[in-house]
Amino acid sequence: MAGTLVKAAWRESRGSSARLIFLVLCLALGTAAVSGVRALSAAIENGLREQSRELLGADLAIESRRGVPGEADLLVAATASARTTSTKSLATMASAGGRSRLVDLKAVGPGFPFHGRVVLDPPRDVSTLTPLECAVAPEVLEGLHARLGDELSIGAARYTIAAVVVEEPGRLDFSFTIGPRVMLSLAGLEEAQLEGFGRRVVERRLWAFEGNPASASIEALARRLRAELPDAAYLRVETARDAQPALRRSIERVENWLALVALLALCLGGAGVAQLVHAHLDARAGAIAVQRVIGLRPREVMWVQLVHVAGLALFASLLGAFAGSLLPFALPSLLPGVLPEAFTLRFDWLAPLYGASVGVAVALLFALPPLVAVWQVPPVRALRHEAEPLQAPRLLQWCAWGVLLVGLLLVARVEGGEWRNALAFAGALAGLAMVLWVGARLLITIAARIPRTNLPPLLLHGVAALARPGRGTAGAVVALGIGVLVVAGTWLIEGRMSSYLVNALPPEAPSAFLVDVQPDQRTDLVATLQELGAEHVRAAPIVTARLTKIDGRAVADIAAERKGDAGVDRELWVLTREQRLTFGPDLPADNEVIAGSLWNDPQRAEVSIEERFAKDLDVQVGSMLQMDVQGLSVELLVSSIRTVRWESFGINFFLQVEPGVLEQAPHQVLIAARLPAEREEAVEAAIADDYVNVTVIRVRPLLEKALALLGRLAIGVRVLGLFVVLVGIAILAGVVGTQASKRAREIGVLKALGSTRREVMLLVAVEHALQGLVAGALGGTAAFLVAHFTLSNTLDIPPQLPWLALPLMAVGAAVLAAGAGLLGSWRALHVAPIEALRS
């Protein structure tokens, strides 16, 4: 029997090729929406990852002042095939021609960096530095009045200055800058004999994995390393994700957005599929009645149609998935400059297959409820076209909706990554569908009861048509409303997000940092900078300290206890590292207290902690921290927890202590300022002359890099948003058009009865416009609510939505529906009535 049904399903694909091609194309468009979004997301994520890896120079890094344990190599090797190298860095004095200054020395092993590049001038590979050569930042040459080819003394060795470091992979994080860069080879560092003697050498081990593994698997490995390595409390395990604290929030926002768009694309594809299958079955009702007459049971008819739809969906999904996957490749030629070069485009064969699988799953799930309608086709329809439909079994209908909801939840979980999001999505969609259905029923009721004498005849027929049996008004309004939600929601969120990304970097972001400033130089130096034209000058004292106890418990004990707890994504390293504290009465403008309040306990010394850092330490308001401030123990009460907008690039600290506690502790001052680009060198020269101990670190190139990355993210978000909006409109038009094409016979009759084409067009337009108006108003309202919720809760962006656009959305949906309705009726409107009647 199964063979007969499959054969019957195959035969369903014959005949009426135009209808089937249209169906396949519409299904393919739905799938292309799902897989196109995936492909674009993948392109954006790849770009992000590439950029992040360039900042770290590797896929994974471990940093330690005690040396990276050999077990790290073993653990990494057991997980994935990887290349590895090391760097060592330390702060030390360098001198040339009788001058000396503090520099940030970095010795690099062969192969460094795995991602990104070290740009030297004159151009050469950093790994070709001999043990007696070094490359230095321009600030070193300026500060020491040295030139290329001169000798630089560091420790016991003398190096030839062979090149200038123009660019190197590095974190966009300036609070830890010690001084300008000097680069050596690892063998060269040995010549200096600086290791030992209590020197604080930071060793960094880097890995790059073969085969471009997913971020999630690298994150999992990092968690395992944090949990399993001996001495883990003294190791800083970093992935590319951790490499850009200043950009992390923006990147998280984009990732959340990508997940949301993937889910919205599912909706869009699903709503389209449901309406198309509904229309398809309507068109096949006559044939289904005959099948019933010759003895096919309803469930057998459903299997025939299900297998048929599955076959079409598979074909369409493959078509759509491949087309969607190619979309990012087509963009550079269609819209030159939209996708930045840094967004690496790779064609992944698995992506379209995955897209096709999701497409088939979505098609089948959304096809189920309309497929139950085959129970409603009475066999007597073969005798009498107008026969009353049968009642489909209630249990079956509920089952179909149940399977759709559960299936949608599973697909949303796979696409969105989290159960919480998947549940919220499926719940919200079901809720919206319900609201739309109620709205549609209301429209039908009103249409049926509207006083007919007061309306012009054409408007009257258009309105009355909504309430006629078998018109499918409710289904059309639900599908249209969901489409409007997706299109309008995407547009609203995308607009806010891309402008927020572009403006994430404030104009007052510093372009230079002055390090190693002594407290007594602070006032003069700030005044000098302002005289020299610097803007947004900000100074902050830095006190180094170590955390010894939290709430009376030694950090070593806490670290030992937390070790092995791989499920908790907390850095042990934060417990043991050297902490940099600042002090002062006020928080910077980009800080916001979210728990507790500043300086409210006159009895105790208070500290304000950054939110993420507080999570890593596992402290709350009221916790007590004991710090070792260069030999002196200080007890600090956590009186507030605050968020920091790291993307502001300003000076920010994890720990800020209230005034009157650390002023007497030995400390330095960090100054940030925005210098006019053309005066940077002059300012630097003036400071080098008057303040010999002070180093100016120019960060403009890094700032521009960050700005470019944010700009590209914004473009990526905009392109993806635009894609969803356009595909959404096309699908909506397709759905309405399919519905309208069923009206050929009615239009034929109307024309045969003497209606002019213009009158019939008006009638069709009125009916569809009313459907669109209701769907637009309800779907648009839902879109505003979803956008408001997503922006404020998930993306953490002030919503500020253009609520006045809501009526425009309703009108827009009405115009679109009317246009698509007319387009779908085009053939029937333009052929002789008898032809429409015959068809």
Partner: protein, 241 residues
């Protein structure tokens, strides 16, 4: 709902029996009584024509007798088993195994060839040698050369002959025909009726046909006249068998 019982007919039971059939339609406005208390009995192997003007309820009666539709009141029995209380599945199985149909508008499946149209019910009924049977039937109705043609490539008469072959395929006990020549010209219609008689005689099938054509009705042994949903009279033609 009771299941379809494929057991052979009960001894002495008429092939088809209807008692006080009422059918009211309520769709779109005031209720309309299409059939009003019709009763009848049809013996196995008999041929019956239901005759009446348009709107007399002929097609509705046929649909009820065939289990295509359910009566508002009254009952229908086939081989002694009530069919108006059967589930949709059971009715489908009844049609699959016992009933054949011929429609005025042929109702061939447009996406199947002539041969496939005839094959489908045979495959559903799991008839052995289905293909051979389908080919034989199409040959018998003179369409040996048109087996691989689609309905759109066949004339009206040819389509109705395919429909005949399809209807007789599973050797149904009963054949219902709704205005089988209504869409055909006189000559073609006559040849289709001739074929229908021939096949019916060969297979021993009970025939119930609906027509408003007196000549067509005259070929049946029994003629039942309907008017305004009621059985007006029954005529028996002793010559025709």
């Amino acid at each position: 709902m009771p299941a379809y019982n494929p057991a052979p007919m009960q001894p002495n039971a008429p092939r088809i029996a209807a008692h006080d059939l009422v059918k009211r339609l309520t769709s779109g406005g005031a209720p309309l009584t299409v059939l009003d208390g019709v009763s009848l009995e049809i013996a196995a192997g008999d041929s019956v024509a239901i005759v009446g003007p348009s709107g007399s309820g002929k097609s509705t009666l046929l649909a009820l007798l065939a289990g295509l539709d359910r009566p508002t009141a009254g009952s229908v029995e086939i081989d002694g088993q009530r069919i108006d209380t059967l589930s949709e599945d059971a009715l489908a199985l009844l049609r699959r195994h016992k009933i054949g149909f011929v429609f005025q508008s042929f109702q061939l499946l447009a996406n199947l060839t002539a041969l496939e149209n005839v094959l489908l019910p045979l495959e559903l009924a799991r008839r052995p040698n289905a293909l051979q049977r389908a080919q034989d039937l199409l040959t018998a109705v003179g369409l040996r050369e048109r087996m691989s043609h689609y309905p759109s490539q066949l004339s009206g008469g040819e389509q109705q002959r395919v429909a005949l072959a399809r209807a007789f395929g599973p050797s149904p006990a009963i054949l219902y025909a709704d205005e089988p020549t209504g869409n055909l010209d006189a000559a073609t219609g006559a040849s289709v009726l001739h074929l229908l008689d021939e096949l019916r005689a060969r297979e021993g099938t009970t025939l119930v046909l609906v027509t408003h054509d007196k000549d067509v009705a005259a070929r049946a042994r029994v003629r039942m006249y309907l008017r305004a949903g009621r059985m007006e009279r029954v005529e028996i033609n002793p010559v025709t068998t």
